[in-house]
């Protein structure tokens, strides 16, 4: 007889909000008439994500999640602890902003970045007809909500099996929605297929690793693994299992050398989806990496530390150096995301088995700061357009400051933050993770991180130079003026996103104290 596990509904509320909204979204898709679907889905997705955010915040406010009341629930499948809830709130918040980007109807002449009907073959007669139709494949919203729910489950998973299920729940919708761009559909579909095929391999590695760990330990629960590791850390099955689990997770976090899909998928996917992936997936993947390494393998630091150390260096170098030659902004931000994954790993290194891990709180803060900034940067990308959709080629951005000073200023802010210039959130985050690494004696890693930061700063600032100091695109030396890109007037959703992300980038740079304290207090995993 199987006993039904105890469910702590207050602790599950954030997840219930998301999955509930997603399920209702599926029903809306099936039964609501087409005209009301879009507003209904947007409202539903926002209720789900904002509800998830609010309930996570209330949960954190109502309990002492870092001490006595940190607990596990649902048959110890889920952890309810400070770090988990912090990450859940981060994902829900970033998710809500992403949904707003999805919902933008004002920028594209066809009123959405998503395709009208995904199943119509690209380039067919029907496809051309639908190109300007105002119809939208509104399944995007429930899919995204499922993905967000999966991510929130991912960071709270207290056993490997739940973690794997969450991985699939978050991945599958992502594969789909990255293929739903309205313009350049073949590119988008190619991106989706690549992401799916490589993602399937990564999931398989994760599963294989899971099986090996189970074989070695006889349990998939993180705390049990931790106990087994403490007594029997060098077991080869365990080490192999850990390595394969990490391959799966690092793939999702787009850490080099498992990053190869990132530029192609980031470029091909609809920009709001790219923003969503860059912000939320990164948070979720790192949440899982932190939990796996700190909780399950925390007693066996020296097995994974050299590995993470090396991967961090590779990721930073690959991201920074390859980013140099990119001429497409979306690709450039993709490489930037790879480099930032390396910086984040620098924070992961700052682990301290005795309890207080400066690395954990630093990484939590970095994830929040990076998520907001990168989301904002992609939101800006959706606004610069030419006749063929978004103009993401660098050359189109030349002299943008003269066309739209405000937009250029906002983008500059985001780029400075990504480069880690003081008084932006990027600096605070970088400083926190590097500090954690140095505290832990890993200063050579910090030196590499800073050198690569300098290289990366070069390509961020190149865009700034281009926007401010170059002749506007379209005008040539001879005086003949051709059509350059235009800067779209954003609707309310994008405006909100830009306002929130820009404000957060500044606030987290100038007065990050309270948020850092929050991350510091939240930085506890239940063992």
């Amino acid at each position: 007889m199987i006993e039904a596990p105890d469910l702590d509904y207050a602790a599950l509320a954030p997840l219930l909000f998301l999955f509930g909204a997603a399920c209702i979204g599926v029903l809306v898709e099936a039964f609501a008439p087409r005209e009301v679907r879009h507003p209904a889905q947007v409202a539903l997705a926002l209720v789900g994500t904002v509800g998830g955010l609010v309930s996570a915040v209330l949960l954190a406010a109502g309990r002492d999640l870092t001490g006595a009341e940190a607990d596990v629930t649902a048959g110890s499948a889920l952890a309810v602890d400070g770090a988990g809830v912090f990450l859940q709130a981060t994902i829900a918040g970033l998710g809500a902003l992403s949904v707003l980007l999805f919902a933008e109807r004002g920028l594209d002449p066809a009123r959405s970045s998503f395709v009208a009907s995904a199943a119509v073959p690209a380039g067919s007669v029907r496809d051309r007809e639908l190109l300007t139709a105002h119809r939208v494949q509104t399944e995007v919203y429930p899919l995204a909500t499922f993905a967000i729910g999966g991510m929130m489950l991912f960071v709270a998973a207290n056993d490997l099996l739940v973690m794997f299920i969450a991985l699939e729940v978050l991945s599958l919708p992502l594969y789909l929605i990255s293929g739903l761009a309205r313009r350049r559909r073949l590119l988008s579909q190619e991106a989706a297929v690549k992401y799916f095929l490589l993602g399937a391999f990564a999931s398989a590695f994760f599963l294989y690793g899971l099986a090996l760990v189970y074989g070695a330990v006889g349990s998939v629960r993180l705390s049990t693994i931790s106990e087994a590791v403490a007594t029997d850390g060098g077991d080869v099955l365990l080490v192999l299992g850990l390595a394969l689990l990490l391959v799966g997770l690092m793939f999702k976090a787009s850490v080099a050398p498992f990053h190869t899909w990132t530029p192609d998928v980031y470029q091909g996917a609809p920009t709001p989806v790219t923003a969503f992936m860059a912000a939320c997936t990164k948070v979720a993947a790192f949440g899982a990496i932190l939990r796996l390494l700190y909780v399950a393998f925390g007693t066996d630091e020296w097995t994974w530390r050299p590995l993470v150390y090396g991967i961090a260096i590779v990721s930073m170098i690959v991201g920074a150096v390859l980013g140099l030659t990119q001429t497409d902004l979306k690709r450039m931000l993709a490489y930037s995301s790879i480099a930032h994954a390396g910086f984040l790993l620098t924070g992961v290194i700052g682990f301290d088995a005795t309890g207080d891990s400066p690395g954990l709180s630093a990484t939590l803060f970095y994830l929040l700061a990076y998520g907001l900034t990168t989301l904002g940067a992609f939101a800006v990308l959706t606004m610069v357009r030419d006749g063929d959709g978004e103009a993401t080629h660098l050359s189109s951005w030349a002299g943008l400051a003269r066309r739209s000073p405000v937009l250029a200023a906002v983008m500059t802010l985001f780029l400075l933050a990504l480069a880690g210039i003081p008084l932006t959130s990027g600096f605070t985050g970088k400083f926190a993770v590097f500090r954690a690494a140095i505290d832990d004696g890993a200063w050579p890693l910090a030196v590499v991180a800073l050198l690569t930061s300098a290289v990366a700063a070069f390509f961020y600032l190149r865009v700034v130079v281009l926007m401010y100091f170059s002749e506007p695109a379209g005008s040539t030396g001879s005086g003949a003026v051709t059509e350059g890109p235009t800067v779209g007037v954003p609707g309310l959703p994008t405006t909100i996103v830009l306002a929130v992300t820009a404000a957060a980038t500044v606030v987290l740079g100038v007065v990050p104290g309270s948020v850092l304290d929050l991350a510091g207090e939240a930085a506890r995993f239940v063992g």
Binding site: E129, L240, V247, F427, W443, L450, L451, L461, S470
Partner: protein, 951 residues
Amino acid sequence: MLVLLLLHLVAALLAPVLVRWWGRQAFLALALVPAAAFAWTLAQLSAVLDGREVSETVEWIPALDLQIALRLDALALLFAAVVTGVGALVLLYCARYFAPDEEGTGRFAGTLTAFAGSMLGLVVADDLLLLYVFWELTTVFSFLLIGGAGGRLAARRAATQALVLTTAGGLAMLVGLIMVGQASGSFLLSEVVADPGSGTVMTAGTVLVLMGAITKSAMVPFHFWLPAAMEAPTPVSAYLHAAAMVKAGIYLVARLAPGLADVPGWRPLVLGLGVATMLVGGYRALRQTDLKLLLAFGTVSQLGFLMTLVGGGSRELAAAGVTMTLAHALFKSTLFLTVGVVDHATGTRDLRRLSGLGRRLPVLAAVGCLAAASMAGLPPLLGFVGKEAAFTALWDGGLPDRTAATVVLVGLVVGSALTAAYTARFVWGAFARKPDCADTEVAHAPEPLFLAAPVVLATAGLLAGPFSPLLAPLVAEYAETVPFGLPEVEDLALWHGWKPALALSLLTVLAGGALFAVRARVSRTQRRLAVGASADEGYWNVIQGLDRLSVLVTGTTQRGSLPAYLGTILVVVLALPGTVLLTRAPWPGEWRAWDTPVQAMVGVVVVTAAALSLRIRQRLSAVLVVGVTGYGTAVLFALQGAPDLALTQFLVETLTLVVFVLVLRKLPKDIGERHRPRERAVRGVIAVAVGAFMGAVGAVALGARTATPVSADYPEEAYDFGGGKNIVNVTLVDIRAWDTLGEISLLVVAATGVASLVFLRSRTGGVDRAERTRLTEVDRPSWLAAGATMDPARRSVVLEVITRILFHTILVFSVYLLFSGHNDPGGGFAGGLVAGLALVLRYLAGGRYELGEAAPVAPGVLLGAGLLFAGGTGVGGLVLGAEVLQTAILETTLPVLGDVKLVTSLFFDMGVYLIVVGLVLDVLRSLGAELDRQEDEDDPIELNEGEMVVR
């Protein structure tokens, strides 16, 4: 102090607005801000001289130990006075430098004010990290100032170059600061200097901090950014490159020297680079023809001089260093501003085209000459006082190492001679009348306000010389913090009597004069000695090399090729876990090649087929060969004594082949992409290695087993509780029935997914029944119900006959499998697959209408019914008071049939059967019949009523 900093910030934010309102007069208002700061700084003089420190501390980010700690001591006061004073004057100067309605003035004004603020913050910051923050801010603002309006490529390149170098240095410095802070146990500058740490971390940190100072202050080998940055407007050069930003490095070294000068590596680095920079800068300055570039190289040279002095780490040198810093700020700003006026008045800065300006602009010439005299170190100016003090200190052995002191002294004397020479060249170039050049026209004479700033600065330099004893207490206040020094200290003064230093000074001036006198020969020699490689080119080579590397790597690894991407991941998997496996794995103790030789034969076949699949070009053949590997595996199952698994594997393999064929009809026959042999070889190696790795992991995992397998109890339990002898089947429908329920739900979803990709409008199209009338029209005899609807060319009588004979038999067989599965090989899954294959046969023989005739039912109905059956079994058990999906065994004796044993899990199996049939039907419908229909009717989509497709 915080208030002053905020005042700068506010002024910077307001500047664009003010400029819009008042035009260039706004600079006058903005100049009040640094002026106020200057006044406040001077007001603190008495307090600081009394040994009291003015400090403020505000918590900023406690979590990171970041605090806004500001502190004004003697050194900070000196630098703050320079920064604010020169800042105010430069802003004043700007009010006339810019044309009244020049574009971008607003932004410029804001940036310059912000820069002044961050520079002030830099010199009063007491927290290491706050210092870094201001440091980076000056970098960013200077980038914006150098880039200026940025119309010109050169300005952009210069700005970027300065930014890259100083940012890289700054970041190195950040790590260094953190390391120094960690090693010393405090992040307060004052505490670090008072009690520095020691050890490797401290040494490495110090060197990294010096990297920041060296790049910022344009030391060799990073000196080249400064001349390039002369693209900036003149006020920027005067402020950033004479008084403020380049002094940041000097300031940092001066600040840290009292505590850190004895850290290993400090003196060789600082003194070596300082002297080298002084010589290189002076040498290069001699051959410049642009006045501004001449001054720029002169600045590089002087910065080397200053670095040597303040970094030497002895009391006398430190005193000389700060005096010289003040002198340099005064005369170099003046000279830059002078050049700006010249440029403004004549439109050129080329000293070969300027002639006779001394007569036409007498005030300017006087100012310029005064400043130049200070630069060359002529009495009675402050420059002379500073240099004199430096020579004295070194002559008396102002360094712990006597030899080093001598070497440095020689270097400084040579450098000073070069300084005197290029100073003469400057004065001559700017103001003298040249015989071979017509007098330069002065387009517009400078206004008094335009001249105010240089005049004030030059006068200050003139007065500071004789009044230098007044400066002495302040300088001494700082110098006394340096631990190392000579017993007797000489105060600053213009006249020290007849000392060796005076002789050295005289020597430098004479040598400089001589060098200037033979300038034609010097410049010829320089041209002959000019080497191809310069540091600047080195920088661009590095940048380009990085670019090229990036392109190369991107080109080889990021081609968008999926196999390449996957290959990367797989190689890493092989490299990391693979190594662990090879080096540490406990291999199973016993290896057995095979149980029967048949296994070996099957193995050979499978491996051969796999190898062939790499070579074959035709898609269909490739799929068939891959199929062979599957069949081979099935044979292995059978040989291992698992008939049920083998049966299922065979059936699945066959069905997969059919689906492949259905899809491949739509694709080109051959695999178009050809790969080079090498590429194929690499892929083959990776593939084989990964396969071997996975196999090895499996072997190790099996070998490592210590626990009893869960399946050990299965045979008994399967019969006792599940009532069946076929363990596989009982496992599926009873022991792990929940899993099966999940899996069949997944099958339903997958089938629906496939169908909905092909059918755009409804879940599945209507059932294609052949119309009766159409069939009767055709009067040919037919073996199949709708066989006549096929194109006669595609019909095969043999196939039709065989289908006719076999179809029902196969169906009966499938039902037999379903029912017998509980005890013998078979079961719902296998039965469903067999039935599905029967449908495949009908479709292949008779086309899409035949499929409709064979199964006149929507696949969705089958799938739904199957799920209902399976789920219903569970609910049924629950209703009857048992567990969900628990098996009940009913035994009874019926007439005719005899003993009947009914196991309720049979109904569950029926659900499975239905779902599998539904799945196959769905696949046939969508990938088979619907694609046929689209082809037949040339209609890619089903249209709604009244919908039109524009073609």
